[in-house]
């Protein structure tokens, strides 16, 4: 609510940015509008029931209508409201972060905790955080060891079978 913001605060005046920071409303209206309609169709499909005995689709219908109606009210941000930013300032960093997390999840399910955690830490600390090699390796090994010991021995969490832990325990 814009009227909760103090009037004439330094923030506002310093952020009177030129036209570059606004955004068009129609792509937002269209995306949310279509999504709202899809939810409504899905709810009708589930069965709306009657008012005295609402069916499983009744409440999803309410949420769909809310999205659809609110989508008409979308407008470009004004004053001190957050403005849309470029989707990515640094696509390479973003994509490598996402891909590495996806790879981590796959590897975690296959070979357990130690190797994927170590690999993800090394990759992120070195490539994304720009740490030096030796600090990267020390941090990665310490964090991995702390996690493995804490989870497996401290909390007894059942993790996916881990060949490295098995090897260390002499059961592999």
């Amino acid at each position: 609510m814009s009227d909760t913001h103090p009037e004439g605060t330094p923030q506002e005046t310093s952020e009177a940015a030129p036209a570059q920071a606004a955004g068009r409303a129609w792509p937002h209206r269209l995306t949310w509008g279509v999504f709202g309609v899809l939810v409504i169709i899905g709810s009708i499909d589930l069965g709306l029931g009657e008012l005295r005995e609402p069916g499983p689709g009744f409440w999803p219908l309410v949420s769909g209508l809310m999205i659809l109606l609110a989508s008409f009210a979308l407008r470009p941000p004004k004053d001190d409201e957050p403005r849309p930013e470029a989707f990515s300032n640094n696509p390479w960093r973003l994509v490598s972060a996402l891909v590495s997390v996806a790879a981590f999840i796959t590897a975690f399910a296959a070979v357990g905790l130690v190797l994927p955690v170590l690999a993800l830490l090394v990759l992120w600390l070195r490539a994304l955080a720009g740490m030096r090699w030796w600090t990267t390796l020390v941090t990665a090994v310490v964090v991995t060891a702390a996690l493995a010991v804490g989870l497996v021995y401290g909390l007894g969490v059942p993790l996916p079978s881990d060949p490295l832990i098995a090897l260390l325990e002499g059961t592999g």
Binding site: T4, P6, G23, R24, E53, P56, G57, N89, N90, A97
Partner: protein, 506 residues
């Protein structure tokens, strides 16, 4: 039970060595993440949610609550020293705190902020002790129609009071409500929006969604920015404010405390609204409003007292009605649910150790925070030397492994990844994830209570008007809507003449 007895009982819980360690840990982590601009209380609490599985309920909530109000204190530090608000409610502190630092008065700015926060936090905890049992008593008579309306008010007020326009907040809230319906229908047991996936039959779990939207979403947002170093230019110097500082800021402290304590009680309230409102009040009351924005100590004292008072009294609706008034408390609500405790009017009698233990821990926490934010402030500032990407990296690993440990499901890790991207995209496109998460949490309560209300009344919506309490709540909502719409209409008429708004689109 007498109030004093209950508080003493609560203090016994809070002062158990184990709990004492966790209060200290909570406010310590809170101050740290308050200082770090890249990591907020929501992300941190989301990150630590799995931990609540292994802790005792009272201890877990004591820890998470400490992180919340600790971050409200700590957020001040970077607002004053760097003009970077550590978290949302500290934005206001930058207006006058930073100019004070530029004038070489960083110490007194931080000092008065700490004293203000302490005064606000302590007073509001007393308000909480006095008010919560009373409200819980009243809430015992609430039925489904009342809960429907309170939950609805909560969502609407959060939408109105956020930083984004109402339309943007409401589409996000609608998405949250929709996501809450995924899984089996609570009444008929039919699967909804599961796309024939067995993993989705049980519904979307709150923890991975919160972790994705807040935790991973925030990390991705930080990753996308190139890492930049932060350097403190201003010397902190003497922290404790002088007598004349106290004389100047005293009345603002008192007003901020009262205002924050009241605003925190409202659904949608909490620290952000309280600090903003206090700043406006102080500026309007000032003999020379032009001093504001240039280093007026009242502009730091009032909002700081208000934000801490507001963040404390915001626990009243959570602990007595079971309605989280803001997003951080929605996460705490989720943490209680994980423990098998449904917050609501019966919490005080069913689980007094949780109810009174958490409240009493706030007295302890506020004392610790006063020490942290005056004597130890120099040490906390040092964490700014650690680049945020390094912390983010460790956070991501802990988050992914942590979410797996909750139910030992790899599917939850995938949910974190997907919602991390959703949270990132929403933020980039100018939306807020807060209303989404709050609506996701309240969606379950809303659906069940609305359907129960309709079942009770035989499909008659008049049930919301004819019952005295729900009728009253409805009247309050109507008045609020009218006031907001009226004011928006008036301001838009006043500013309508130069047609510049729509032309400035990209």
């Amino acid at each position: 039970m007498d109030h004093l007895d209950s508080v003493v009982q609560g203090l016994q819980v809070a002062l158990q060595p184990g709990n004492l360690v966790f209060v200290a840990l909570g406010v310590f982590i809170g101050t740290l993440i308050g200082v770090l601009p890249g990591l907020g209380p929501t992300a941190t609490i989301a990150l630590l949610l799995p931990l609540t599985y292994v802790l005792d309920p009272a201890t877990a909530i004591i820890l998470l609550a400490g992180i919340y109000y600790g971050s409200v204190y700590g957020g001040t530090i970077t607002s004053v020293l760097l003009h970077i608000p550590g978290e949302a409610s500290s934005v206001v502190t930058t207006f006058d705190g930073y100019p004070m630092a530029q004038q070489g008065r960083a110490g007194p700015a931080l000092g008065i902020a700490a004293v203000g926060s302490f005064a606000g936090g302590m007073t509001a905890t007393v308000v909480l002790v006095l008010l919560a049992p009373m409200l819980a008593g009243i809430a015992l008579s609430f039925g489904p129609p009342e809960y429907t309306l309170i939950a609805l008010t909560g969502i609407l007020l959060v939408a109105w009071m956020g930083n984004v326009s109402v339309g943007r907040a409401l589409v996000a809230a609608g998405l949250g409500l929709m996501l809450a319906t995924v899984g089996l229908d609570p009444i008929s047991g039919e699967p909804r929006f599961t796309f024939e996936s067995t993993s989705m039959l049980a519904g979307l779990d709150f923890i991975p969604i919160a972790m994705g939207l807040f935790g991973l979403g925030e990390v991705l947002y930080n990753i996308d920015k190139s890492p930049t170093g932060t350097k403190i230019k201003h010397k902190i110097g003497r922290i404790w404010p002088t007598r004349s500082d106290f004389q100047q800021a005293g009345p603002s402290l008192a007003r901020g405390t009262v205002l924050g304590s009241l605003l925190g009680l409202l659904p949608g309230g909490g620290s952000v609204v309280s600090s903003m409102s206090s700043y406006v009040v102080e500026k309007r009351r000032a003999k020379d409003p032009s001093r504001f924005g240039k280093g007026a100590i009242e502009g730091v004292a009032g909002p700081e007292a208000a934000s801490n008072a507001g963040s404390t009294t915001a626990f009243v609706p959570l602990l007595t009605l079971g309605i989280p008034p803001n997003v951080v408390l929605a996460l705490l609500y989720g943490a209680l649910l994980i423990q098998g405790i449904t917050p609501g009017p019966t919490l005080m009698t069913d689980r007094p150790e949780v109810f009174w233990g958490v409240i009493a821990s706030m007295f302890v926490g506020n004392v610790l925070l006063l020490v942290f934010n005056t004597a130890l402030i120099g040490a906390f500032v040092q964490v700014l030397r650690i680049p945020i990407t390094i912390l983010s990296t460790v956070a991501v690993v802990v988050m992914l492994v942590g979410v797996y440990t909750v139910q030992n499901r790899v599917f939850d890790m995938v949910v974190v990844l997907v919602f991390g991207l959703v949270g990132y995209a929403l933020r980039k496109f100018g939306y807020e994830v807060g209303p989404l998460v709050l609506a996701f949490i309240l969606g379950g309560i809303l659906e069940t209570s609305l359907r129960q209300s309709l079942l009770i009344s035989g499909g008659d919506f008049a049930v919301f008007v004819t019952r005295p309490v729900s009728g009253g709540i409805l009247a309050v909502i109507a008045v609020l809507v009218l006031v907001v719409v009226g004011r928006t209409w008036l301001t838009s008429r006043r500013t309508a003449d130069p047609v510049t708004g729509s032309g400035a689109e990209r």
